[in-house]
């Protein structure tokens, strides 16, 4: 299978502060990778680096066989930011049109792709409302629709399930699995363990370091615990023990 994301020996930071150290990561096409970790662990920094918003301090990042950073590459990445970055005075439709244009979706295809993306997140009946009148969950769904809009081969979703009710969460996961089956690569960050269980591959980050990596089944077996949450806690304790020994 083709490699979509290849991160090798990545160190990232600004000034003298190190945010990420020695990150190695490979994601193949059709795979869903979940980055798990507490707030401030460096998940968003890793995502920003993979997207090419930040230049790697050292190490290499290749996405879709292109060295990152690369501006044109961003057209192939559907991004959902952690905070809902929406124009609240505009309607949902206007937001979708605008970001569609920015992503370079041809005008002729915009309406059709917009209808599809809106249907996935159950917003097709509220498209002409101003985003200011949207609830928190609706805004989250609109952000996801914007990420799906250009039908990109790689989706990067930063905390996609925050503020979304369980029913819709399940629907979204169904759609994500369907997209993955169609060969799309999905990278998402989360601190919700239920999300982690849905992913094909996990990467646990704590304090800028990858403390555990592998499929959920492999990790459960390796750490001999019943849940993913326990894996995370145990791996964290192991990390703390190591640091103390250092």
């Amino acid at each position: 299978m083709a490699t979509t994301i290849q991160v090798t020996d990545l160190n990232q930071g600004y000034g003298k502060t190190t945010v990420l150290s020695d990150i190695n990561l490979t994601v193949t096409a059709g795979e869903i990778l979940a980055l798990i970790g507490p707030s401030g662990a460096g998940k968003t920094t890793l995502v920003s680096t993979i997207m090419g918003m930040l230049r790697p301090k050292s190490g290499t990042v290749r996405v879709l066989d292109t060295a990152v950073p690369n501006r044109a590459l961003l057209a192939k990445i559907g991004y959902m930011a952690q905070t809902d970055a929406l124009y609240t005075t505009l309607t949902a439709r206007e937001n979708l049109h605008f970001f569609g244009t920015m992503m370079g979706v041809p005008r002729a295809q915009q309406d059709q792709q917009m209808a599809h993306a809106a249907a996935v997140v159950n917003l097709d009946h509220d498209l002409d409302k101003a985003v200011a009148d949207y609830s928190g969950g609706m805004k989250r769904r609109l952000s996801l629709a914007i990420a799906l809009l250009a039908d990109p081969p790689l989706l990067i979703l930063d905390e996609p399930t925050v503020g979304i009710d369980p029913e819709l969460r399940q629907q979204i996961w169904q759609e994500l699995h369907r997209l993955a089956d169609a060969g799309k690569t999905i990278l998402l960050t989360t601190h919700v363990m239920e999300d982690a269980e849905e992913a094909d591959e996990l990467m646990m980050i704590r304090g800028g370091v990858a403390i555990a990596q592998g499929t959920p089944a492999k990790l459960l077996a390796e750490y001999q615990v019943p849940t993913i949450e326990d894996v995370f806690l145990k791996a964290g304790r192991v990390q703390d023990a190591h640091t103390r020994n250092d």
Binding site: M51, G52, M53, L54, R55, P69, N70, R71, A72, L73, L74, A75, I77, Y79, A81, T83, D84, A85, L86, Y87, T88, T89, L90, E94, H97, F98, F99, T101, M102, M103, G104, R107, A130
Partner: protein, 386 residues
């Protein structure tokens, strides 16, 4: 295509925001109307001057439309009388010595009194000179009649005395007819102020609105989200530039049409030049606003930049003539973008200057805008490094 998308978004956002629209289009007209009437009334200031023991000839000479005389016999001090009756000043005569006390709380009134006194002095002097000449002429006439009688007796034909000339010289009154190079007799300070205000209003509103718009993009995360698409930084700036530039042009047209029809003020130069200047100013204000917004953490902080960045520009925009300033202040004037914009605008509106006269100003403004444009593209690197 992306630039067009940016322009469309900037304009739709602006059109949705009714209050900002009203601020941009109605507020300037309100301010201009207010200033117009404020400067209309300033021509009819009258000062009241208390007079004590002043010769009636001097009193008549002092009288004019802007000065009212109030005779007083009170023995109170001048200070007291002025305070009590709220006079602008008091004139006391003792023998041939005049003492003038001015309240000086209103410099316009003090100036009226001073100039009235000067005018009265000149009037009285010429009158005295005239009277002296008349007396002389009379004496000459008497002398010549006596001479004639004497010469007649001696049998000599006398030369005709030209008595009339002296008298004519004494009573000559000059008639002044004033021609105005720019404006007419009804011109007030408002005519000087109008072009400066026209450029300042465009500068101020575009600076504030665009600065806050980009700031909002930064704080809500839409700028980051936007840069996560393959859009070029230049395309974002161009979108902003064109979108707000269009609003600036509409604002300029509105102000021009309003001043032409409501105040009957003729714009001597080409309306196209007026639009061109304001378009350049809008560009400058926009690039400055976008750049300054980098240093603001909130809308409130953006407003705090107004006294630092915008207000000083007013002082150097021509309201106070820059040529009368000391050298170091003139140097500061030359780094103020509005100095060039308002300067060019005054040239076009008041003096009908053409492109050949104002192109250096336009060029400087373009250079300013280019510098800020580059700075903007650079600061956006903070968000996306390619």
């Amino acid at each position: 295509m992306r630039t067009r998308g940016m322009i469309k978004r900037v304009m739709t956002e602006m059109l949705r925001d009714k209050r900002t629209l009203a601020l941009m289009f109605v507020a300037p007209l309100l301010i201009l109307t207010l200033i117009y009437f404020l400067f209309q009334s300033s021509g009819s200031t009258t000062a009241t001057l208390a007079v004590k023991n002043v010769d009636s000839t001097l009193q008549t000479a002092l009288k004019n439309d802007n000065l009212k005389l109030k005779a007083t016999t009170s023995d109170d001090s001048a200070k007291r009388i002025i305070r009590q009756h709220d006079y602008a000043g008091m004139l006391v005569q003792k023998g041939d010595k005049l003492t003038l006390t001015l309240a000086n709380d209103d410099q316009t009134k003090a100036t009226i009194i001073k100039s009235s006194l000067q005018a009265a002095q000149i009037k009285l002097k010429t009158k005295a000179a005239g009277a002296a000449l008349q007396a002389q002429a009379k004496a000459i006439k008497q002398l010549s009649t006596a001479l004639a009688a004497a010469t007649k007796a001696a049998g000599i034909t006398p030369a005709t005395p030209q008595a009339g000339t002296a008298q004519a010289a004494g009573s000559t009154t000059y008639q002044t007819k004033t021609h105005y190079l720019y404006g007419d007799k009804d011109s007030t300070f408002f005519d000087t102020l109008l072009p400066i205000l026209m450029s300042f209003i465009v500068f101020f509103f575009v600076f504030l609105i665009s600065g806050i718009a980009l700031l909002r993009e930064r704080t809500t995360g839409t700028l980051y989200r936007l840069l996560a698409t393959p859009v070029r930084r230049g395309e974002i700036i161009t979108g902003y530039l064109t979108g707000y530039g269009l609003f600036a042009v509409i604002q300029t047209l509105l102000i021009v049409v309003f001043t032409m029809y409501a105040f009957k003020i003729q714009i001597l130069g080409s309306i196209w030049l007026v639009i061109l200047i304001n378009l350049l100013l809008a560009m400058l204000a926009l690039t400055m606003g976008l750049f300054i917004s980098t240093f603001a953490g909130s809308e409130f902080q953006m407003v705090q930049f107004i006294p630092v960045v915008v207000i000083p520009q007013i002082f150097f925009s021509g309201i106070i003539p820059v040529v009368t300033m000391p050298g170091w202040l003139q140097a500061i004037a030359h780094i103020m973008p509005l100095y060039y914009g308002a300067g060019a605008m005054s040239q076009v509106v008041e003096k009908g200057a053409g492109l050949s006269a104002i192109w250096p100003d336009l060029l400087v403004m373009l250079a300013f805008a280019a510098v800020f444009l580059l700075l903007n593209v650079q600061t956006m690197k903070k968000y996306r490094q390619v």
